[in-house]
């Protein structure tokens, strides 16, 4: 055949080419080296921040796995994820002690006749934790309720949009609308003042290597570990999980091979709802219950999911830790005040989009 002519690249292509070669360097272990190097350095220089980062990372990982599951199966970015986490944290609060804002702002009243804290010994602290078994019960109940809530929302809103074959942008906007609905619901019932599950003292535990953590943080890590294990088994060992992953990989094929997509979608929301609830309660335990936190949380959540490659649950797990650690350690630098925490998450997100849009584990595009 005729000798192929070279195509004269225009500026945009050249920039994109530069971007691609940067991506290739990063792919050649550069990103991994940077991440591991940074973590090792932090282990020596900023041990406290690293500890907090790991705890936060575990929470973000739970949230991001849910986010990435929804993205994988339903193919849209769920912008109500952060606010759902906060709302479920408040639902757990309600189950625990039944308290909502009273007639006037600032006053309080109880909504539920019976609460978990009425159970004998539910609010007396276990071991060194600041809470009793009531919180664990509340978390589990909330997981069930949130799963139901997410499935309900899907029925009322998203399923109708699916039937109408709406584009992904419509789903994104609907989820943003729902995010504001949830945030407003929190504000209506619990007001803008941040809250804590328990006013009690937070005990520190000294671990080897000069590490000291709050007992509650050990609980967070343990809980996250258990839940991750359950989700892992569900995704990789059950038929349902395999169907979910098949649908995430290739929805058309899944449809053809006789998978009941409606059922898979329902289960996806249920699983994501449980993850949302656990992540929300743990986050509120680590930080506090705050209506403002939900929306801002979207940045580290999406950053984690994108670092891991959208739609990839194991990736999201790693991404959660990468983002959590980087975020906490970076704000110990003098030039970054703690207010920039979420901006750091955003910086990670943009960096990944520039060099590896498919995430750490994604194939190069």
């Amino acid at each position: 055949m005729a000798t192929p002519q070279t195509i004269s690249p225009n500026l945009g292509d050249r920039l994109r080419g530069f971007q691609r070669s940067a991506g290739n360097i990063a792919a050649g272990g550069g990103l991994w080296a940077a991440i591991i190097g940074f973590t090792v350095w932090a282990a020596f220089a900023e041990r406290d921040a690293l500890t907090v980062g790991i705890v936060l990372g575990a929470i973000l990982a739970l949230g991001a796995v849910g986010l990435t599951l929804i993205f994988g199966v339903l193919k849209f970015a769920h912008f109500a994820h952060g606010d759902s986490m906060m709302l479920s944290a408040f639902i757990a609060w309600l189950l625990l002690n039944g308290i909502i804002v009273g007639e006037r702002a600032g006053s309080e009243t109880t909504l539920l006749p019976v609460t978990i804290n009425d159970l004998p010994g539910a609010d007396s602290a276990i071991w060194e934790f600041s809470f009793g078994y009531g919180l664990i019960v509340a978390m589990l109940l909330t997981a069930v309720l949130t799963a139901g809530m997410m499935v309900g929302i899907d029925r009322v809103v998203y399923r109708r949009l699916r039937r109408r074959k709406s584009g992904i942008v419509i789903f994104a906007i609907a989820s943003l609308g729902l995010a504001f609905v949830m945030r407003s619901v929190i504000l209506i019932f619990w007001g803008p003042t941040p809250r804590l599950y328990t006013p009690g003292i937070r005990n520190r535990i000294d671990l080897p290597f000069d590490v000291s953590v709050l007992a509650d943080q050990l609980f967070i890590l343990a809980a996250a570990f258990v839940v991750t294990g359950i989700v892992y088994v569900m995704l990789f060992r059950t038929k349902l999980g395999k169907a979910m992953r098949a649908m995430a990989d290739n929805p058309d094929l899944a449809l053809i091979s006789g998978i009941d997509t409606d059922r898979i979608i329902t289960w996806t929301w249920a699983v994501a709802g449980c993850l949302i609830a656990v992540a929300g309660v743990l986050l509120a335990l680590q930080a506090h219950l705050d209506s403002e936190l939900g929306f801002a949380l979207l940045l580290p959540l999406f950053a984690a999911a994108i670092v891991g490659g959208l739609g990839n649950p194991q990736g999201a797990l790693v991404g959660g830790f990468v983002v959590g650690i980087t975020q906490e350690v970076a704000v110990t630098f003098d030039f970054l005040s703690p207010g920039y925490k979420f901006s750091v998450a955003f910086a990670i997100l943009i960096l990944i989009l520039l060099v590896r849009p498919r995430g750490l584990f994604g194939e190069r595009s």
Binding site: A77, A172, L176, L178, F342, F346, L349, I350
Partner: protein, 396 residues
């Protein structure tokens, strides 16, 4: 029912929801002056004309500023289908850029900001340049700055799937808010900036400036409206509409998807910058607390969805309707709704906005004023002309 029966000639082709829409518009138009009068009674038992007018003009100015921002979003989302969940960033950047250009040097120990060139821009005193030149420059700079920021966000994200841009815009909004709050030296941090000069402010009595304010914002809205209509009802707008319908088909029709999406995103952001600029003039004070997600991003989505995505008139109508209803609901505070409701009114309003967005998506996706059937104004004229002249005999 009644409406579905025989209709008079003027009402043919109207749907029942059109009548509802008209009723809403009328209610707002009638209710707001009344509310303005009621409000003025707070200061003067019998009410007074000056109080009424300052409330009413403030309402109109707010609608104007919000209409600008909604039109900016309309270019991005309504015409092109590009998502921007960070209107706040461009709004805020426009407002702060304007403030630091038009203000004089910082006064006092508690005020620090960069810029402060307002007084240096009185280049030709004979032409009263201090009254208009800094403002023209500042508004242009606001548009430019917002446009450049949009370019910066667009580059890494616009060639990816649509939702990546949405995420990135949330991020840029967060960064913008943070920088304003944390970097005190830049724009005075959380203390905010007060005393932004007002265009042509030296020409009228301070108590009458409110009227001038309405005129200035009104003129800017009209200019932007016609500029956008012209841009959008052309082959340029047709490509944007194509993009919002089907990106791949647009690419298969030989259009450079990335270039058009970038243009649309940048033009929309520049309009938002102008909106921010007008906000700075109209209210003369800026504080990071005023730029919440609700008031600086979300409300514009509600306005656009309700008014009608892809229609500039719809964007303006949406701003009017949503802000009108908002204002009316503020007034309801006085009416024995009970403490439970009253103390939660601000949050209930937020809830209703969220419900409005989802509801419009589910029930009336086109909003109050749907897109025009024909994109190109030329085609519109041509088809109309054909209708008014008898069809030529069909060629065989």
């Amino acid at each position: 029912m009644i409406l579905a029966g025989k209709r008079p000639a003027w009402a043919r082709g109207l749907k029942p929801s059109d009548f509802i829409a008209t009723a809403v518009l009328l209610t707002i138009t009638l209710a707001i002056p009344f509310i303005a009068y009621e409000q003025s009674r707070g200061a003067f038992p019998d009410g007074n004309i000056a109080g009424t007018m300052s409330f009413y003009t403030a309402f109109l100015v707010t609608v104007g500023v919000f209409a600008l921002l909604t039109m900016g979003l309309n270019i991005q989302w309504g015409y092109t289908g590009v998502i921007n969940f960070g209107v706040l960033a461009f709004f805020m950047l426009g407002a702060y850029t304007t403030a630091i250009i038009t203000k004089g040097d910082p006064q006092g120990d508690f005020t620090t900001y960069i810029g402060g060139w307002g007084n240096d821009l009185n280049l030709i005193p004979a032409l009263a340049t201090d009254q208009w030149l800094p403002f023209v420059i500042a508004t242009a700079a606001a548009a430019l700055a917002a446009g450049l920021l949009a370019l910066l966000v667009a580059f890494p994200t616009l060639h990816l799937r649509e939702d990546y841009l949405a995420i990135a815009t949330i991020g840029i909004a967060e960064v913008m808010r943070r920088v304003v709050i944390e970097e005190r030296w830049m724009v005075n941090g959380s203390r905010g900036l007060t005393g932004v000069p007002q265009p042509l402010g030296g020409l009228v009595d301070q108590s009458d400036y409110k009227y001038l304010n309405v005129v200035i914002v009104g003129i800017v809205v009209i200019i932007v409206f016609f500029a956008l209509e012209r841009a959008v009802r052309s082959p340029w707008g047709r490509v944007l509409r194509g993009l919002s319908d089907d990106e791949e088909a647009t690419a298969a029709s030989g259009k450079n998807v990335f270039a058009f999406k970038t243009q649309s995103f940048v033009v929309g952001a520049a309009i938002m910058g102008i909106g921010g600029s007008m906000y700075a003039y109209a209210f003369s004070a800026l504080s990071p607390d005023a730029f919440t997600h609700l008031f600086a991003t979300f409300i514009f989505w509600a306005m656009l969805m309700v008014g009608g995505s892809g229609n500039n008139k719809g964007a303006i109508a949406g701003a009017y309707v949503i802000w009108g209803l908002w204002t009316i609901s503020l007034q309801m505070q006085g009416y024995e709704l009970g403490d439970v409701i009253e103390s939660r009114m601000p949050f209930i309003r937020g809830l209703l906005l969220g419900v409005a967005i989802v509801g419009v998506l589910l029930i009336r996706p086109l909003g109050l004023l749907p897109q025009e059937r024909r994109v190109s104004a030329w085609v519109e004229r041509r088809v109309k002309k054909e209708r008014s002249t008898p069809a030529p005999p069909a060629e065989t």
